[in-house]
Structure formats: structure tokens, C-alpha cells
């Protein structure tokens, strides 16, 4: 890689008086800690403290601006049997799959296409990055309009092939698809660029050798590109998993109002929405919401482990 260096000053570096021994010892030993301290200080206050407090709060029966009573693990016990919580989990996973799998596959295809000899590469690359540069709420509003039952573009297109207009917010499957398309639209280009970058580091001779052996472009893709992309794919899947399991903005805007129920019977309420609804809208139960937040964390751990196991197998058998 090219090194970006500032040209060193032309004049000889001024001979500074050697700093005293104590100062230089601190400078060598202590300075690093000082340099990382801003991050860790902020992290302690706005990262660790909230996490610990969430756990502590989850042990209480507490209402917003109200009383709190110690309740032990009863919040967790109630959550485990709470149909609405599991509904939210179900929705979250249900949206996550169509929001991530097609996205990554499409990103791979796009990256592959962008990797070819093309004129105006920057134009194409910027073009697919366009969705990422939009404001997320704005896009959710646009898509919700496109999915409107009476005036939306999608129902109009479906009408052209004779399908009845769908009330997208009404069913699980339709609302999941609608929301997933918003997420896919937004992130596919970005992931494509990331994958493209990784593709470009694959040595060309590998491909040439395969071509000489008579491998078709498709075979080259499966045998060379994919396996070498594995670390990057793992990374991309990892980031997408966290984003997908904490999905909030798109489903909230799909509902239109900020009531957080995710549809009239929670058709598309995600776990993040469930937490907000419990704490700040419907019931103002902050203890219960905190317990749900910890279960969300467990869910994320679970999800990332499964994904890691899954993506390790890409291009495994050679």
C-alpha cells in the first residue's frame, strides 16, 4: 500500500533540550494510558455503567417516574412466558433473514459485477452507494408510501399482473418483506463495496492458473473468489447480524405513529420496539424492559455464534 506521509521538515529538527528523566519515563510509560483514557472514560460512563445499571434495574419492579420494588428474577421469569416478547423475537428473526441473506448474496453478485473491466467504475460504485447516503427515516417514509395499500407503487405493479392490492401492514409475512426490502436497499451497495475491496486483493494469477486449467468463470467464482472472501463475508455477516437483531427505525416508521406496537397485533414489532414500548410508551415498566434488553443481548450472542458457524462452512470443502 502506498504510504501517505507528510514530508518531514526540511530544516534539521530542532535540538530540544532532553526532557528530564522523570518526564521522559512518564512520557514513555504513562502517556499511552493517557491517550486511551478519553475513550475508556467515556466508555465507563456511557457504556459500562448503563449496562450494569440495566441489569440491576431488571431485578426491580419499576415504573417510569414511579416507585420501584425489588423483584429478584421475576421479570425474567415473566419474560420467558410472555407471548408478546417471543412474538417480538419471532418478528425480529423473521425480518432478519430476508433482510440479510438476499442482501449478502446480492452484494456478492454486485461486487463480482463491479470487479470486471468497466468504463466509469467510480460512477457505478457511487451509484450503488447512493442508498447509504440517504437519511434512514426519510427512506423509511418513502418506502412506507410505496407500500401503501391504496396508492402505493408496489400494489400498482402487482395490479398490472392481476394481483389484488395487499395491505402490507396487516400480515406478518407482508410486513416482514416490506421492512426487509428497506434494509436490503440500504445496505446492499455498501456491503458490495466492502466485498469488492476484498475481491481486489485476490491475486490475479490464481484466476489465470484456473483459466488455463479450463475453469469456467462460474467455477472460478466458487473455487477461488468465495473461499478467499470468507473472512470478509464473516465480517459483513457479523455487522449485519447486530444491525438486524436490533432493528428499530424501519419498523417504527412503517407503522407511521410512534405507538411502538409494531402493527395492530404486533405483526412486526421487533425486540428493540418491545423494549421501548415497555419502558416509554404503553406500560412505562422500566424494570421489565431492562430484563428484555438483557435477553436481547443473549439473542445477539446466540445469533452471532450461529452465523459464525454458518459462514465458516462457506467454501470449506475444497
Amino acid at each position: 500500500m502506498t504510504l501517505q506521509l507528510a514530508t518531514p521538515p526540511r530544516h534539521a529538527s530542532p535540538k530540544r533540550a532532553r526532557p528530564g528523566r522523570r518526564m521522559s519515563r512518564f512520557d514513555l510509560r504513562g502517556m499511552p494510558y493517557l491517550l486511551v483514557s478519553p475513550y475508556f472514560l467515556l466508555f465507563a460512563v456511557f457504556g459500562i455503567f448503563p449496562l450494569l445499571y440495566t441489569f440491576w434495574l431488571s431485578l426491580y419492579d419499576a415504573e417510569l417516574a414511579g416507585d420501584r420494588e425489588f423483584a429478584g428474577l421475576s421479570n425474567y421469569a415473566k419474560l420467558i412466558v410472555d407471548a408478546d416478547f417471543w412474538n417480538a423475537v419471532f418478528n425480529t428473526v423473521g425480518i432478519f433473514v430476508p433482510a440479510t441473506v438476499p442482501q449478502i448474496i446480492l452484494a456478492l453478485l454486485l461486487a463480482n459485477a463491479l470487479n470486471k473491466r468497466l468504463r466509469g467504475r467510480l460512477f457505478w460504485r457511487l451509484g450503488v452507494l447512493l442508498p447509504m447516503v440517504t437519511s434512514v427515516v426519510a427512506v423509511a417514509v418513502v418506502f412506507s408510501q410505496l407500500y401503501s395499500r391504496d396508492y402505493g407503487l408496489f400494489n400498482w405493479i402487482l395490479g398490472l399482473v392481476g394481483i389484488e392490492p395487499i395491505a402490507w401492514q396487516n400480515e406478518k409475512w407482508s410486513s416482514w418483506i416490506a421492512i426487509a426490502t428497506m434494509v436490503d436497499w440500504r445496505w446492499t451497495g455498501y456491503n458490495a463495496i466492502i466485498l469488492l475491496a476484498a475481491m481486489q486483493t485476490i491475486p490475479k494469477d490464481l484466476y489465470e492458473a484456473a483459466a488455463i486449467d479450463g475453469a469456467s468463470p462460474r467455477r472460478q467464482f466458487w473455487q477461488i473468489t468465495l473461499p478467499m472472501l470468507r473472512p470478509t463475508i464473516v465480517f459483513v455477516v457479523f455487522i449485519s447480524t447486530i444491525g438486524g437483531l436490533t432493528l428499530f427505525t424501519e419498523p417504527v416508521m412503517f407503522e407511521g405513529e410512534q405507538i411502538m406496537t409494531g402493527g395492530t397485533t404486533g405483526q412486526y414489532q421487533t425486540v428493540a420496539m418491545f423494549i421501548v414500548e415497555q419502558a416509554f410508551r404503553g406500560s412505562f415498566q422500566i424494570g421489565y424492559a431492562s430484563a428484555a434488553a438483557w435477553l436481547l443481548f443473549v439473542l445477539i450472542l446466540f445469533g452471532t455464534m450461529i452465523n459464525y458457524w454458518f459462514t465458516r462452512r462457506i467454501g470449506g470443502a475444497r
Binding site: A65, Q258, T261, T264, S283
Partner: protein, 443 residues
């Protein structure tokens, strides 16, 4: 590289410049505070925050009168939002907890009075400012609801709902139905008759639906049935959830389901922008009307619809839906003045003015008995004698107990009704889901 540095610097300047310019514009946009008279002393501004659609609390005229007569205390009246449960209430709680940002006087809907009464730390003790003496003005239940967990007076009543049925005169004519309000009332002495009238209307194919959606009719019927069932709604008087066992709830639910199944509704959710639009556009012909709904309609339908809406007696008899209170958050910087203004707005003058402007029927006895109220005719609604109609409607009204989590349960179960009406919830599973949602919300 210098290029980068320059780019970053330029863009940094651009952002700063943009921010500065828009900030300046933004400041210029801020509406000037109500300019007080040229009294040398700084007048105290009392912010009144209310909620609701259309004309909502109806204080414009009352505020104008006060401001003209009281240069030292100026009222600034703002209606923050149409929606109480999911917008006004969470924001109010947030402001109360933060200790700043709440109005000097805030409106509270009946559904959240239990919640607020349980949080005395947030409100001013109005008794300390002499408002204890207002007790005789209010019916017992309206007064009691304003006493908080510490036994202190924290809120005084504004309006009381009563019940009528509003209808679109022009659409009735188009459909060949009678338009005179006595005849219309005769059209539907019972809910069965109302259903039949609805079917007749639908058959006439005017392009409009019979009613707006599930929320309003549900609350109307619930408020009628509650008195027949011990004056309780979702909670019994010892705060136990009786959602499933209270026949009042089931009856109201069943009627909504029937209307929905017959296709009589416009599938709208109350107090939403599409609902406002439909009121204006005449997309439905009837709607349950407690007194304050008249103001909602006149506000949403606008001047061009004056005379198109009219009021008739409601099927099934009297009931009470809605009614609010005003309270003073403790964080106010002007407790004495706020208490004074609150006293005025909930006094006879304030109540009468609100009734004239928004149709909100007074909850205080002196105002109800005032001839101005008793003889009032509402111009917007074809000079219907609202004073007389609502006086009759609230006579003998028993207060319905609402419970601390009433607002939460109400929101949750009405969501299911909307889902049922719009097709997201099947009719056969709707009751189960309805109960589930209510139980969940009660915590």
C-alpha cells in the same frame, strides 16, 4: 496531504456557515411571545399545554378575554398534539420527570388521572392556593379524581362528555334518509335500529361509509354499558382487572364487531390525520359525539362544512365518554399565577367559553346551570341546542371508575379493534386477542 486538509477545512467552514445561517433563520422563525401590554413590569407568562383534535379544549376566547383584562399575567395557550395516549402522555411524563419543559398548566385526560394521582411529587397542591373552596362546584366523582395519593387536591375538572350522535345532513339527504334531528333520533332508538339504518344507507351507495371506524363507537357503547354494570370499565373499584368478565366491555366489543362485519365502517383510526381528512371530506355519515367531539369535528371539517354536520340523540341512552382535568406541575416558576389561571379556566367563565367554542360540556355545576349554557345553540351544527341536549345527557350521570392503568389498557385493546376492523385480525380470534392485549397492558 494538503488537499485533504483543505477539503476538510472548507467543508468544516461550510458546515459552520450553514449552521450559523440556519440558526439565525431559525431564531427569526421563532414566533414572538405574546407581546404583553406596555406595562413597565415584566408580565408573567403562563403556558397552558393541552391535547386533542379540532378545537380541543376551546380556550381561545377565554384566553383572549383574560389576556386583555390581566396585563400582568398573560396566558399562552398551545395544543401540543391530537393524540393523548401515545404522544401527549409519554412526553408529559418525560417533562415531569426531567423537572422542566412541562407547561405551567397541563391538561390530563380521564384515562390518565389514576396514573397522575399516583405521582403526587410532580404536582402542585392546589389547596395551598385556595382552590379547596371549589369543592361545591363539582359533582363528587369529578372532584375526587383530582385528589392524589397524598390526599392533596392536584387537578380540577374541565369538561364532561355526555353523549350524542353526530351525522352528516347532506349525506343523509343523498341517501334518502330523514334529515331533521328529531326524525333522525327516531330512526335509531336502539343499536339494532342504528345497524338497520346503516345497512339502508350503504345500500343507497352515496360513496360514503356509515361510520368512521371502531374506536369512537366502541367508547360510546362502553360508556353506556358501564353504568349498567356497576359503573366500572376495565378495572373494578379495587383496581382488579375485570376486562374479560365485565359484560359492558363484551357488549361494546360485540357491537363493534358486528358493525365491522357488515362493512359499515370506513376503517379509520380515530384522531389520526386520515381520520381528520375523512371528517372534512365527508367520507362517513355518523359518529358518536360526546360534547367535546363537536369541537373536534368543527375544527377538522372547517368552515366549508358549516351546516353539513348535525346532532341527534344517541341510540341506547346516555353515557359519559371523556372529560379532562387541568393540573399545575410542581416545576412551574409561577405557582401563584398558574393557580389563578387554572381557577379561571375551570371556573364558570372558562367553562362557558369552552362550551361555546369547542362544544365541551362543563363539568362544573354552576356552569351547567348558567342560562348561557342551558340555552346555547351551536351555530356550526345548524343551531342545535347543545346546551339542552347535553344537560339532559349528563343528568343523573354516575361516574365510572377508571383504574390506574386505564389509558394503557384502552390503547392496547383499541389497537386490536382497529386490527379487526382493518382485516389484520380475524373476527373469530379477535376477542381472544383483545383480552390478551388488555391483560398484558395491565401489567
Amino acid at each position: 496531504m494538503t488537499n485533504h486538509k483543505r477539503r476538510l477545512a472548507v467543508s468544516g467552514l461550510l458546515v459552520a456557515a450553514l449552521a450559523a445561517v440556519t440558526a439565525a433563520c431559525g431564531n427569526a422563525e421563532t414566533p414572538a411571545a405574546d407581546s404583553a401590554s406596555d406595562a413597565p413590569a415584566e408580565p408573567v407568562t403562563i403556558n397552558v399545554h393541552t391535547f386533542g383534535g379540532g378545537e380541543n379544549f376551546g380556550y381561545d376566547a377565554a384566553v383572549e378575554k383574560w389576556n386583555a383584562e390581566n396585563p400582568n399575567i398573560q396566558i399562552k395557550y398551545s395544543n401540543l398534539t391530537d393524540r393523548f395516549e401515545d404522544v401527549f402522555l409519554p412526553q408529559l411524563l418525560q417533562r415531569l420527570q426531567a423537572g422542566s419543559g412541562a407547561g405551567d398548566i397541563v391538561g390530563i385526560d380521564e384515562g390518565a388521572m389514576g396514573l397522575m394521582a399516583a405521582r403526587p411529587q410532580f404536582f402542585l397542591d392546589l389547596g395551598e392556593y385556595g382552590l379547596q373552596d371549589r369543592k361545591a362546584d363539582f359533582p363528587a366523582a369529578k372532584w375526587e379524581a383530582g385528589i392524589n395519593a397524598d390526599g392533596k387536591l392536584f387537578a380540577l375538572g374541565t369538561d364532561i362528555g355526555g353523549m350524542t350522535m353526530c351525522y352528516r345532513k347532506d349525506l343523509f339527504e343523498k341517501a334518502g334518509l330523514p334529515t331533521d334531528r328529531e326524525e333522525v333520533a327516531a330512526l335509531w332508538p336502539t343499536w339494532d335500529a342504528y345497524l338497520e339504518a346503516g345497512k339502508k344507507f350503504s345500500a343507497a351507495d352515496t360513496g360514503a361509509k356509515w361510520m368512521d371506524g371502531p374506536n369512537t363507537i366502541y367508547n360510546v357503547i362502553l360508556s353506556q354499558e358501564a353504568p349498567k354494570n356497576g359503573n366500572v370499565s376495565y378495572f373494578s373499584k379495587d383496581n382488579q382487572l375485570v376486562l374479560e368478565s365485565n359484560p359492558a366491555v363484551k357488549t361494546a366489543f360485540d357491537w363493534v364487531q358486528k358493525f365491522s362485519q357488515e362493512g359499515l365502517t370506513a376503517k379509520l383510526q380515530a384522531f389520526s390525520p386520515p381520520w381528520n381528512k375523512a371528517i372534512k371530506g365527508g367520507d362517513f355519515a355518523t359518529m358518536g359525539c360526546p360534547s367535546w367531539m363537536l369541537g373536534v369535528i368543527s375544527g377538522a371539517a372547517g368552515d366549508e362544512n358549516k351546516g353539513n354536520w348535525d346532532v341527534a340523540a344517541v341510540p341506547g341512552g346516555s353515557g359519559n365518554w371523556g372529560g379532562s382535568w387541568l393540573a399545575v406541575p410542581k416545576q412551574t416558576k409561577h405557582p401563584k399565577e398558574a393557580a389563578e389561571v387554572l381557577n379561571y379556566l375551570t371556573g364558570k367563565e372558562g367553562h362557558v367559553a369552552a362550551f361555546k367554542e369547542a362544544g365541551a360540556f362543563p363539568s362544573s355545576l354552576p356552569a351547567q346551570q348558567d342560562p348561557e349554557v342551558a340555552d346555547l345553540k351551536n351555530e356550526y351544527f345548524n343551531d342545535v341546542p347543545t346546551g339542552k341536549i347535553f344537560s339532559d345527557s349528563v343528568k343523573d350521570l354516575q361516574p365510572v371508575f377508571l383504574g390506574e392503568k386505564h389509558a394503557q389498557v384502552k390503547t392496547a385493546v383499541e389497537k386490536v379493534l382497529e386490527g379487526m376492523d382493518q382485516g389484520a385480525v380475524g373476527y373469530d380470534e379477535a376477542w381472544t386477542k383483545f383480552v390478551e392485549a388488555g391483560v398484558k397492558a395491565a401489567g
